[in-house]
Symmetry: C2
Subunit: 276 residues, 2 copies
Amino acid sequence: MAKPLNDLSQLCMHTITTKPWPIEKAAHEFSEAGIGGITVWRDALTGRNIRETGTMLRGLNLEIVSLCRGGFFSADTVADRQKAIDDNLHAIDEAFDLGAPLVVLVCGATPGQALSESRKQIQEGISACLEHAAAAEIKLAIEPLHPMYAGDRSAINTLEQANNMAEAIRSPWVGVALDVYHLWWDPNLEAQIKRCGQNGNLSAFHICDWKTPTTDMLNDRGLMGEGCIDIKLIRTWVEESGFNGFYEAEIFSNLYWNEDQDAFLQKIKQAYLKYS
Amino acid sequence: MAKPLNDLSQLCMHTITTKPWPIEKAAHEFSEAGIGGITVWRDALTGRNIRETGTMLRGLNLEIVSLCRGGFFSADTVADRQKAIDDNLHAIDEAFDLGAPLVVLVCGATPGQALSESRKQIQEGISACLEHAAAAEIKLAIEPLHPMYAGDRSAINTLEQANNMAEAIRSPWVGVALDVYHLWWDPNLEAQIKRCGQNGNLSAFHICDWKTPTTDMLNDRGLMGEGCIDIKLIRTWVEESGFNGFYEAEIFSNLYWNEDQDAFLQKIKQAYLKYS
């Protein structure tokens, strides 16, 4: 059984979830609501002093959970792969300045290239960032993406693959991010969560829901409880694996972004307490 | 290495691929082109005498490869599950009348119901059809569907799951249908094709391509060669597993359905010879 959720202290909001709000407004609202954490998307930092933004967030009693996102390591040419590595080194610097302990990686896939080759390039890319990550004490979390993104966004599509890669790299600065949206369908999920926890690699837990029908492959995620994912069951497995971090609401939704964001935040709070 | 394809004798067209054509027109065009096989979707039989349609197809030297589709076994109530079984028994009768040796199953998933429960209902549903299938000598092929359909179309989403279920049922009248669109991303695909072939369960092989970006979750499939699936590589594994049946072009595409179907068929022929 999942632990009862009685308040919002373990909820972390992704800035992209309330995308229409600038980070200052979002942080103020999250803090007012008693939400405990925030994950910052890099686009939310555009035009800001990153250190000062980190100070502002901590001043509002928000724990900075992670920076989203690095990755996209695979590419056709050595030069482009180096560009990706450079961007990830930069993301590590941004996380350091912000005071975020974790960078989430959407690992990448290159259309027309074998997935096995993309995976090799991803592993090489992450490895090339390790020294910098260790120096900054920033963890990199491999996030497996739903197989519908295998064509162009991620060649890592199951928790088993993420576990394999994290274990192959074997560094205290590499972990795994688990998003129920990407992995809920996998019959091996429970076993792979257990494995991930046992190896100390479970570093982030993202929640939302899968709607039927889903009308947009990227931006039609559902509020918790609105779709067919048994989030409580998956959270039970996650907690049993030893994870005691934040439950991160990451909801890309054209539908909700077009709504009044105050009302949307109310819905998120209720859905979190009831269905997560 | 995949066998070279020098003619269209091993190509099977799904009637839905050229959906704007009535089956009579489609069959004539396929036959004229030297295409060897046809898989008939049930909607193409509406208003026809099924036996006469079978005779017509054989008269055009088209081998009737399968009937699409049965399945959708999961449901909330016993009555609805019985309705699904009855429909599958009817599909077996239709296949018998048509002279198709195989019925492809899109197994079903019920939103809000645990996938494990839907899988149990699927297995019970197939089992309930076995006696009728054996009497008619019609094989039922479990088709795993892409995980993006796990919410409402199929709780069987990997070849491993289809293999598990086919082996659990263990009947000469149950096999597996492999569609590259659904399974191309799976890192365990080669091993599971081998397993499927060794157990004599590989009963159908469907081809098309996965486009990036994919703009519609159902009806934006690509022509072979147009996307990121290495069809030749998968065909190599399929042939090595002992499969020597048809290569079935099953392309749902609003884009191509809106084109001139003669021109589309030309493209399919070329794409088949070059990229399959």
